[in-house]
Chain length 433, copies 2
């Protein structure tokens, strides 16, 4: 048996102390409540799966990052690196037991052996919500509306940037550049990072001067939603199914949000979600007060989610998104908008160790009213009450309840006011509630 082992956590992994964890849980609860209010249901999948399943569609980059090993039965297994791949496998496996359209959310840990120098973590919480089995504009819209609800409920203003990958492809076909779409998408995706000039340079190299100008015109279209839509529709060769879907989305937005001031939805033709597997509407979400940190919630529509794991011929189209919890938490902290937690701020003092049962009885009455109440466990004696105040202050509490000999009244110590007030239990509950 070892005599001493140095306590340390692996690089890229984190402990969460109570102050940080309570906030993280509040944030998750908040997002979860938004999902539930829209009728989205939770699922869970194992942290460990067959490596073959998790790596199915991925290239070499994922393979390098994944935590992969042989289990005790010599199976080739790995830790999930996102919640999308397990969801695809889940849908293929349980297809017969799900009711479609299926609206699910999934909040859970995922692991990647990423380079931690980029400020990334090797263990992180993913927060995904999707509608699958419906290729309707209304399900595209519902995901966007739910994104909006999530951030509204958190009290932060966002711009949700929407685009349609299909319309962009149509535009490329219209200018005869379909064959280079992969390279063009890659260049366009860097626009916000490298700026318009550099993007134009790359595009000129790829497609020549005239085409580069057209592409810049497309991705840089200006105006409100309607005006931009008109421009990019024209550049794509006129009205089509994709432009009609965007028109419909705009109508939905107006109908669902007419009582709101401001327009959280922006048509942004430069949003392409890179080389991702999205095929239809795509979106990215930026905090109005901190756009520079990048998108905090991105997603879009994809075809044939479970295709790789399914022998059935009819594919399942879906639309969904993922909230970047770590990035969002950091942003909310800078903005001083972390969600409030129902944190305990009151303790019953422990004066005489023999009376702990009575102290607990008093606390029970307060807890019954929905107010958290701690009971201190280490007796201080009548003359050392200050010890209890110091402990309560260290814990960030606001009140200490000092029980009295008879049960009719108690003394409430307000730690910030440094005042003791005698009151009935009824008034005490009213005060600290």
């Amino acid at each position: 048996m070892a005599a001493y082992i140095e306590p340390k956590v692996l690089k890229g992994f984190r402990d969460f102390l109570p102050d940080a964890e309570i906030v993280r849980r509040s944030l998750i609860e908040n997002i979860e409540n938004s999902c539930r209010s829209f009728g989205f249901l939770p699922i869970d999948t194992p942290a460990i799966e067959y490596a073959e399943i998790l790596l199915g569609k991925s290239g070499g980059e994922t393979e390098k990052q994944i935590f992969r090993f042989k289990d005790n039965g010599e199976r080739d297994v790995a830790l999930r690196f996102d919640l999308t791949v397990p969801f695809a496998r889940f849908v293929a496996l349980h297809r017969a037991d799900l009711v479609f359209p299926f609206k699910r959310y999934h909040i859970g840990k995922a692991w990647r052996g990423e380079n931690t120098q980029r400020g990334r973590y090797r263990e992180f919480i993913q927060c995904d919500f999707d509608i699958i089995g419906s290729d309707t504009p209304s399900s595209d819209f519902e995901i966007i509306l739910l994104i909006r609800a999530v951030f509204k409920n958190l009290g932060v203003d966002v711009n949700i940037n929407v685009n349609h990958r299909g319309l962009f492809n149509r535009f490329l076909a219209n200018i005869g550049q379909s064959e280079k779409s992969v390279e063009i998408l890659r260049a366009v995706d860097k626009l916000s990072k490298v700026g318009e000039d550099k993007t134009r340079e790359s595009l000129t190299e790829l497609t020549g001067d005239a085409n580069a100008n057209k592409i810049i015109k497309f991705i840089g279209a200006k105006g409100d939603f309607k005006e931009i839509l008109e421009q990019i529709t024209e550049l794509s060769g006129g009205a089509c199914a994709e432009s009609q879907r965007l028109t419909l989305l705009r109508e939905y937005m107006r109908d669902a949000c007419e009582d709101e001031d401001g327009e959280p939805f922006i048509l942004n033709p430069s949003i392409t979600r890179g080389l991702d597997y999205y095929t239809g509407v795509v979106f990215e979400t930026f905090l109005k007060e901190m756009p520079d940190i990048g998108s905090v919630c991105s997603g879009g529509r994809y075809d044939n989610l479970a295709g790789l794991y399914s022998k059935e011929k009819d594919s399942i189209s879906g639309v969904g998104t993922s909230v970047g919890l770590d990035r969002l938490l950091a942003a909310l902290e800078s903005l001083n908008k972390l969600p409030a937690a129902n944190k305990c701020k009151t303790a019953v003092a422990c004066i005489d160790g023999e009376k702990s049962g009575k102290y607990q009885a008093l606390a029970q009455k307060i807890r019954k009213e929905g107010v958290p109440c701690e009971v201190f466990t280490d007796p201080c004696g009548e003359k050392n009450m200050v010890k209890q105040f110091v402990l309560a202050e260290k814990k960030g509490f606001q009140y200490v309840i000092i029980p009295s000999e008879d049960d009719s009244t108690v003394t409430l110590r307000d730690l910030s006011a440094r005042q003791n007030i005698e009151m009935t239990l009824e008034n005490l509950i009213k005060k600290i509630k």
Copy 2:
């Protein structure tokens, strides 16, 4: 790229479909609320740690069961197999940042390569709560009271069996059998499984007839808390610190629970928690309606939690417990006492796809009142309303809202009554709330 990969989960691992996951989350939320109401705070630790740290004190059995592997940096790492060892490491690492006594709960996944034939899972959720840094009877009591609150809030009656390992050791010393304590504890621990006769046999073999009788008398003491305490105190050589602590616990119980009918705390001298590392008070919790499934919440007091990971000389004593979530879930299901979930039971029908924005606007008004409301995304047309009813029934919903042309009224379809009723939005919210 593979063309087809069979969708499957690893043996001993589980997917949770919405119905199961929603219940599991409600149960966790319920336990979490109980912990919070007592002022316990959440923490989290990484799923993966250095194997050396996780295996520190464990014997060969754990080593065989643990998921252990080399990460991409050739570090010897493993998945946590409980939340206790990571907590010990956590306390040693963050000792300076914690306020003692420290009351924490931790709910998270753990992994063991267990033999799944015993009905165990290789991935499971642990639910632990502890008070560390206080060796007071009142902290022993608070853990027991919190166990009681957890089950009370779940609406199930339990018997919490309490004992004191120290008093048992004193008894063994009193009959001159201290040296065989390990073997005796092992035999006593099997009492509930093998019965008194077999236990007596093993004890006779170990310690002779006379001692076996004394041990059986000790562990089989009958009566109420006070009567049993008197018997085992006498058998242990008279009043001592350990018997005084149990006396105090009984007083606390009376003081804190005097308004309750029945006595959930039982002094059970046969509870020893086997060869575990407990040193003081120990406890096991049984469902009154299903005692045979075994303890659903066990724990006790331990010395020097973080000793292995700490160079500091003063040890940290603690008391804590762990809820067996899987076993409890199964029991609650058989008892038909699964916690209620705020599950969505209402949907707005989708008649005309162009009006999805208006449907969402209507749903928003309902969600604002705290009532979850789904909006169906696939239009059925005026004449096919029954399609929406069928979908809602498949989802286990109770109501479908059929929007009308003007906004003043809507039609509510009650699916079980098979009735449509026209009403104002205000009345509708009242009805479905």
